[in-house]
Amino acid sequence: MIDKDVLERTLSRALHNGGDFAEVFAEDRVNSSARLEDGRIEELTSGRDRGAGVRVIVGEATGYAHTTDLTEDGLRSAAEVAAAAARGGGGVRDVALERRPVTPAPIAVRPEDVAKADKVELLRRGESAARAGGSSIKQVMVSVANNRRRILVANSDGLLAEDDATRTRFMVQCVAAGDTGMQTGHEIVSATRGWELFDDRSPESIGEEAARRALLKLAARPAPSGSLPVVIAAGIGGVLFHEACGHGLEADLVDKDASVFAGRMGQQVASPLVTLVDDGTPLGEWGHLAIDDEGHPSMRNVLIDGGVLTGYMWDHIRAGKHARGPSGNGRRQTYRHLPMVRMTNTYLLAGEGDPEDLIASTPRGVYVKQLTGGQVNTATGDFVFGMGESYLIEDGRITEPLRESNLIGNGPDVLRTIDAVAGDLEMAGGGGMCGKDGQSVPVGVGQPTLRVPAMTIGGTAS
């Protein structure tokens, strides 16, 4: 994307006022999407964003500026704006870059090689399958989006690394209408893959699943209000850990004492059944990274091992301050953003036993099959997440479907009290976007079926 000698001169320029560290992050992202709504191909869009950001750190202060001009002049201007924050020191430092080998995730069928007519056909297949759900299905929206993101990172420590990642996401949303009003159902499949994604997951199966959920909710009754045992299904349930403790284990929040997990390293913070990892390495997963947005290879980091807190997640600055190696968690939304500590794929390792036994041993409670996202206050550990598809458990059996509502819990309490973890670890097939301080990045989650003995369900039924 940018010549090595240009990068070296830009980095030297960025440090001309002094400064401990300088970095160039360049990005070239091509997006494309298509949407079908109400039987019509409403929109095909495409676009490209390309630019570079220069970061200069001196002591605790960071300067950042970016440009869409990737010539040496453009980069130098950005370097000078960023360097304005670094006052004091002085003198020019020579930077010699050494290219690090990176193997981008292999893509079998590049989305940009798929004819637009074939993309449109894929949308139609998803729609027909959803419509086949019956006349109660009133509206169907199908979308497919893919992006190819090429990045380059060069810094004054001599690191030079590049990656080329492709992500694809397919979504069907349905509106069903019945006596009780309108309800919605959706299914998302997303991966760090190309069009080969659809070899494993047909558009029909995605459309059918979305329709099934919408229809199910027409017959759903209001969720209970109050505290009950909650069994969370394998896969997307991993959002629980993302919210309940994932954010609280991000080193930037820990450093600011804005996490209930600050100062707890080596302590028992969870049930011995809990071993939690954040792992950017699995190919194809939505949160997969070959390198993070600071050029460090992604890693498998064990955060909680048998209930004992064993690790936080780190970005370059905080890892340096704590004199430890990076963990591959420095990420940013685009070249316009500063990197910060972010999760990749966060999942709970499998326990033992059959998920069915776990349900059978729950006399009364709620079974959550699909989660729709959540939010956490890391200072208190209180978090919520939305139950998109859930059922009552009565006498150890899954019975009636419930309308949507939020669950609320306290992260440390939930971790301590988890009393059963089954052996059926699954990654969620449709990872989501995680927002933090105004930046949104793709993250994956996973877990085996598990039970929390008491959580507050925010329904309306007494």
Partner: protein, 449 residues
């Protein structure tokens, strides 16, 4: 300003390339956002984010195509136009597709960007961020730290030109000051944030962000989980504003026409308590979101959504208006990377006549909701069901009492509007531009112990 003219000239150049039978629209925008963050009086970061891009829409034979470029380089612009044309080939024809035409409405006279804000020096930005932090830390000795103390200012310019005769530019400036504060008592930590926004440097109240955050965090120390029951809730203006934004989103043309609004087919009916009057008014100069034109270049106007409880109508873009057999209400929203669609630009709830103290007195016993979480995962704007996490305080005998946490409130958006029993008299502007006030709502399910 010359920058406006440069952007308009670029948009016009693209539009001039329209072929016979083709409608072409170019939306060009440029912005600069500078953020200063401080921590313990020292600079944590200074970020300067400049962004420029162009979105191009082509309509030919009722088919619409769109493409964008995050750059104004001639090559990138040319390739966006070619891609937009190519994308149109695969779209389904729709006779409602088409660009806006000038409709004779005169844009409101709004002050342009604030020169003083546009020229603000970095040292001043840092000083203002420090003032936010100092104000928070000075509130009480239990304020032990900050997750962030930020100052941000933005200068934004855009231009729209179409082959149907639209030629407009807009520019605006605004600032925001934000504090995210930690209060500690023994082992317990509580977090809350406060924010202030404005359009000019002449009206600054950055300390307010710090003290508001500090007071909210302090108020939560010692919070416990309340008993589940049915209660009257009083929503802080910020929380009320978040719900108004969700309600506003159900009243936009695209959503209504696609059968995704619980209020479709209810125009002329009483959908809310008579106390409720809600408008979308980007022409109000006091709103941080005020603007002269919508995303398709039509002059903005005041559109009443709910008048004394009765649903008056919906917000429309050119497409949704045509689809509904109506005119656009100049409610198209967009950025350069997306096609315009109907949306809210400056929601404003008409204020009532009760102070907060009077509302608490009227309510007697209930819950004061200071913040909500999981608003988007917990609200279904199609069915109207919502269930969100809350923190706040109990209301006992007409006064604020003990703090609460780890609880949710649930109802439906439809019932919530009908169950409004009081609207506050103080108008609060939220960062997104919503003009809000405290709202009291009865019959809400509170879930806790």
């Amino acid at each position: 300003m010359s920058n406006d003219n440069q952007l308009l000239a670029l948009a016009e150049k693209v539009v001039a390339d329209a072929r016979g039978g083709e409608q072409v629209e170019a939306f060009v925008s440029q912005s600069r956002r500078t953020t200063a963050k401080v921590r313990r009086g020292e600079v944590e970061s200074i970020e300067q984010a400049t962004s420029a891009g162009i979105g191009i829409r082509v309509v030919v034979d009722g088919r619409q195509g769109f493409a964008y470029a995050g750059s104004l380089d001639p090559d990138a612009v040319a390739s966006a136009l070619a891609d937009a044309r190519d994308n149109a080939i695969f779209a389904t024809p729709d006779e409602a597709n088409g660009l806006a035409h000038p409709d004779g409405v005169t844009p409101v006279d709004l002050p342009g960007p604030d020169d003083a804000l546009a020229a603000i020096a970095t040292d001043r930005r840092v000083e203002l961020a420090r003032a936010v932090e100092r104000a928070a830390l000075a509130t009480d000795r239990r304020i032990t730290g900050m997750r962030s103390a930020d100052w941000s200012d933005v200068l934004a310019t855009s231009a729209v030109a179409t082959s149907t005769g639209i030629r407009v530019t807009d520019s605006a400036s605004f600032w925001s000051a934000m504090a995210d504060v930690l209060a500690t008592d023994g082992d317990e930590v509580q977090e809350a944030y406060g924010v202030r926004v404005g359009r000019t440097l002449a009206h600054l109240d950055v300390e307010g962000a710090g003290t508001e955050a500090a007071e909210k965090a302090l108020a939560l120390l010692g919070a416990t989980q309340p008993e589940s029951r049915r209660v009257t809730v009083v929503l802080d203006p910020h929380v009320a504003g978040s719900f108004l934004a969700l309600i506003g989103a159900t009243m936009v043309g695209d959503t209504v026409l696609k059968g995704r609004s619980p209020f479709a087919d209810r125009v002329g009916e009483a959908i809310a308590a008579p106390l409720v009057t809600l408008a979308d008014d980007p022409t109000d100069a006091s709103s941080p979101a005020a603007g002269r034109h919508d995303g398709e270049g039509l002059a903005t106007r005041r559109n009443t959504l709910i008048g004394a409880g009765v649903l008056q109508g919906f917000l429309h873009s050119t497409w949704s208006g045509r689809k509904a057999g109506l005119a656009s209400t100049a409610s198209a929203v967009r950025d350069y990377a997306s096609t315009p669609h109907a949306g809210t630009q400056g929601l404003a709830l008409a204020t009532g006549d009760l102070t907060l103290e009077q509302i608490l007195e009227q309510v007697g016993d209930g819950i004061w909701v200071q913040s909500v979480s999981g608003l988007h995962s917990g609200t279904n704007t199609v069915s109207g069901d919502f269930s969100v996490g809350v923190t706040g305080r109990a209301i006992r005998s007409g006064a604020l009492a003990e703090p609460i946490r780890e609880a949710t409130i649930a109802s439906t958006l439809q019932r919530m509007l009908l169950d409004v029993v009081a609207v506050g008299s103080e108008r609060v502007w939220l960062p997104g531009g919503t003009g809000s006030a405290a709202l009291a709502i009865e019959g809400v399910s509170l879930s806790g112990k």
